[in-house]
């Protein structure tokens, strides 16, 4: 029964990833078709203009609807994984990355709900999610199983969940800042011009970060409380702790940069991208290359 549930969870994971891929294609179609818009606007009359405008938009709306479906399957995949393993489903890299991706997708859907004009950023948000899920589903995949004794604590559900959600938020914020920089730089004009307005992207990155940062802080504090009970000290500069500290300092710098004349937009965005880079670095390099107390990857 439990193994069937585990298989079911794996299939849902693959299905969710496939659906995100489909959504990304729909987004990309809308994005690409938006180029055809300008000549049509100039040349053709009102009816032609309407038809060229609605078709890409239909793809865009479909992309969002499909993403919602994917997120629902993804959530069920994670939940059934937990049921099959009879524990909180964030005990190894596969599950952890799955949770981060779900958080990123849900964040993106909330963003879309509040400002639908952000939709052209869709392909670029779903792309890193797909890359992460592809890695998680292949090289990082491990079958369901129990976790080692140190992970058996209710702090795991609190610490790892909040880390996952804040990481997911920061992925979207990082992409928004990258797109902002692209949009502002003017290079790749064909792509950049179709992105949401620069200040909208910048505001998006900032708004997500100010939610993610306190959550990330909370996650680090719960990690410290747990480490005090599990490892004998609340902070020990374990490699993962160290890079989390680095990320925290960089995001603190981002918030300060936002309040400093001359740093407010462009440089601040670079700082946010740097923070994003440390999050990804912490996720892969520290878990898989450096040996530390957080080496729960279940691989290598």
């Amino acid at each position: 029964m439990l193994t069937e549930l585990a298989t079911f969870s794996d299939r849902l994971f693959v299905a969710a990833a496939g659906i995100y891929a489909l959504a990304m294609i729909f987004h990309a179609v809308e994005f690409a078709a938006a180029r055809a818009k300008s000549p049509a606007l100039v040349g053709a009359g009102a009816p032609a203009e309407e038809s060229t405008r609605t078709r890409p938009e239909r793809f865009g709306r479909m992309a969002v609807a499909v993403t919602v479906l994917g997120a629902a399957l993804h959530l069920v995949s994670l939940a059934t994984r937990g049921l099959a393993a009879e524990r909180w489903p964030m005990g190894n890299m596969y599950e952890f990355i799955s949770a981060i991706c779900l958080a990123a997708v849900v964040t993106w859907l909330v963003v879309l709900r509040r400002s639908p004009s952000a939709r052209p950023a869709g392909p670029f948000v779903l792309f890193p999610v797909l890359v992460l899920m592809a890695l998680a589903g292949s090289v990082l995949y491990v079958p369901t199983g129990p976790v080692v004794p140190p992970l058996r604590s209710y702090w795991m559900s609190i610490h790892v969940s909040t880390i996952s959600v804040s990481s997911g938020l920061l992925v979207v914020a990082g992409v928004a800042s990258l797109l902002f920089l692209l949009r502002r730089s003017g290079s790749l004009a064909g792509v950049a011009e179709k992105l949401p307005a620069a200040d909208a992207l910048d505001r998006l990155a900032y708004r997500i970060t100010i939610i993610a940062f306190p959550l990330f802080t909370f996650a680090i504090i719960t990690g410290a409380i747990w480490a005090e009970a599990a490892w004998g000290r609340f902070w020990g500069w374990d490699p993962k702790e160290t890079v989390a500290f680095v990320s925290w300092v960089i995001y603190a710098a981002y918030l300060h940069a936002r309040a400093t004349a001359g740093w407010r937009t462009g440089r601040a965005a670079w700082v946010n991208v740097a923070g994003f880079a440390t999050i990804v670095f912490n996720l892969f390099f520290i878990n898989m290359v450096v040996a530390g107390l957080h080496s729960y990857a279940g691989v290598g």
């Binding site: 058996r152 802080t217 009970a229 500069w237 490699p239 500290f245 300060h256 309040a259 520290i286």
Partner: protein
């Protein structure tokens, strides 16, 4: 260095009137230096430096975490490691340059936050600023006419602005109301930064007055009392700890149990602990309280914590000399493979009853080799499972001078190889034994492998600063949440009665002082409530 969205508030020091420098040069240098240090830009640079400086702590092996990896690094990069070592890269978080960065950052923070605290305290007492002459220039603006007299209109605005700090001022024939809200943003911001300082002080207190020691305790009644540093196998003392002031509580490991899944993955470790607090020990009580010691479930006693870090096995041997004398020894052997708990060690014996030191030195015994909790069987013993399913030892028995008398400490897990090389210690037997089996040496000495005892690797930690750190961490988080969610905003209303006094012209203006995004909706609600009263709609 506290973040805010308003440029003029980012550098509060710069707004202060410049005192006329009398001792011109020195004062100017000091003042400019201080302003530079406490400016937001410096804080930003220091934050980046802190982030960059911490990175080698994750990328290079650190002494505080794993001495062995540092040694490997020295072996792998002999041309680079000594230089890195001189610069402190293997002890990043104890390096002076790392401390310099965070101390400068803290000074910068205090220098920025203290004046802002005073400023905020003044702002809390001050009245909201006067209504600007031209409200239509405000980012948010609306106007309308109410079909009520001035007093009623004022009352309406006043009641809507409950919860705002507001003040009314006469304005020609009419009145203005200035209101401001969101003071908690700055309060949260200040709380966050001051908590950061408190947190650092808490951490420093822990580093000064805390200690941490590890000790191996035998299951089946092994005892440890926290009376001094010598009782520990390893001990890391805080800078102000000399070991004379430890809390002398006692623990006893009555039983230890490890369970494993069929694939060898650990299922649970459980130590049955008995303990007495220092007070109970002093009172001579023989009552012991019990605690189930597990991973994630430390014992907390007298402000100390006892953790279960690991476990292993101690094979027990009995040596019977030809004269009938017997000695039994069981000392921990060290796991060389954490997955199967294959262990190595050296159990050492001295022949009893021999007083002649020369003779003593030639007849000491050491039983060294490998221990497998679940042996693979066969001639070459290796372990296939970490639990005690089929224990077996593969031992060499060495006889001669163990070199215990030369005053140097030696490993409890090994014999002194120089004694072997010099020929003072000679191998006299080699055998694989399962519990109950024995071997006999050429002089008739019999060595029996009796069985196996568990031992637990415990850590005792003392950190007097950690409660303070937790409190400050929670305050920090609360301050952060306040400062990032609350918006500081201003609202003005100018009410002017029409000439007949029956109606009132209302002009509204709004300005977000911190984060423009988001005030629009609230302003729209205020406008709707004040200018489109429900009875009219």
């Amino acid at each position: 260095m506290a973040p805010t969205e308003t440029p003029t508030r980012a550098h509060p020091q710069r707004d202060s009137p410049t005192p006329r420098p009398r001792l011109a040069g020195v004062w100017a240098v000091l003042r400019n230096g201080w302003r530079g240090l406490t400016s937001m830009r410096t804080a930003l640079v220091l934050l980046f430096l802190l982030a960059v400086a911490a990175l080698p702590g994750a990328l290079l092996p650190q002494r505080s975490l794993n001495q062995r990896l540092v040694e490997e690094y020295f072996a792998d990069y002999p041309w680079l490691a000594p230089t890195l070592d001189r610069l402190g890269f293997f002890d990043v978080f104890a390096a002076p340059w790392f401390a310099a960065i965070y101390l400068l950052l803290m000074i910068s923070l205090v220098g920025c936050v203290l004046p802002r605290t005073l400023e905020h305290a003044a702002a809390l007492r001050a009245e909201p600023v006067a209504t600007p002459r031209n409200l239509s220039r405000m980012p948010h603006h609306a106007s309308g006419t109410l079909d009520v007299g001035l007093d009623e209109a004022v009352e309406r605005v006043r009641s809507r602005l409950r919860g705002w700090r507001s003040v009314e001022r006469p304005d020609g024939a009419g009145r203005t109301i200035s209101a401001e809200k969101g003071y908690l943003r700055e309060a949260g911001n200040l709380l966050f930064h001051l908590s950061l300082v408190g947190l650092l002080i808490g951490v420093a207190a822990g580093k000064l007055f805390g200690y941490e020691g590890q000790v191996i305790v035998m299951s089946g009644g092994g005892q440890f009392c926290n009376t001094g540093i010598l009782g520990y196998d390893t001990f890391r003392a805080g800078l102000r700890v000399d070991g004379t002031d430890l809390t002398p509580f006692c623990i006893r490991l009555d039983d230890f149990r490890a369970e494993y899944r069929p694939n060898g993955q650990a299922e649970s470790f459980r130590g049955q602990l008995a303990y007495q607090s220092a007070e109970e020990v002093a009172s001579g009580s023989d009552e012991w309280r019990t605690h189930r010691l597990e991973v994630n479930h430390p014992l907390r006693v007298d402000g100390n914590r006892v953790y279960l870090l690991g476990h292993g096995y101690a094979p027990r041997f009995t040596v019977t000399w030809p004269n009938g004398e017997q000695r039994t020894g069981a000392i921990q052997w060290r796991p060389v493979d954490q997955a199967t708990l294959l262990s190595e060690g050296a159990t050492k014996f001295e022949p009893p009853g021999i007083t002649d030191s020369e003779q003593r030195r030639t007849s000491q015994l050491a039983i060294t080799g490998l221990f497998a909790p679940t042996s693979s069987g066969g001639d070459v013993v290796t372990s296939v499972f970490p639990a005690l399913l089929a224990p077996e030892v593969a031992v060499d028995v060495l006889r001669g001078d163990l070199g215990l008398d030369d005053g140097r400490g030696q490993s409890i897990f090994q014999v002194d190889q120089r004694m072997v090389e010099s020929g003072a210690l000679v191998r006299v037997a080699r055998a694989n034994l399962v519990p109950g089996e024995s071997l006999t040496l050429d002089d008739g000495t019999e060595i029996r492998f009796d069985g196996v005892q568990d031992w637990a690797y415990l850590q005792i930690s003392h950190d007097p600063g950690q409660e303070a750190v937790l409190v400050f961490a929670v305050l920090l988080l609360g301050g952060l949440a306040l400062s990032l969610t609350i918006r500081r905003r201003r609202f003005w209303a100018r009410l002017t009665p029409t000439d007949d006094g029956a109606r009132t012209v209302v002009e509204l203006g709004g300005l977000a002082r911190t984060d423009r995004a988001g005030y629009g909706e609230e302003f729209a609600r205020l406008r709707a409530d004040l200018l489109d009263p429900p009875e009219e709609s």
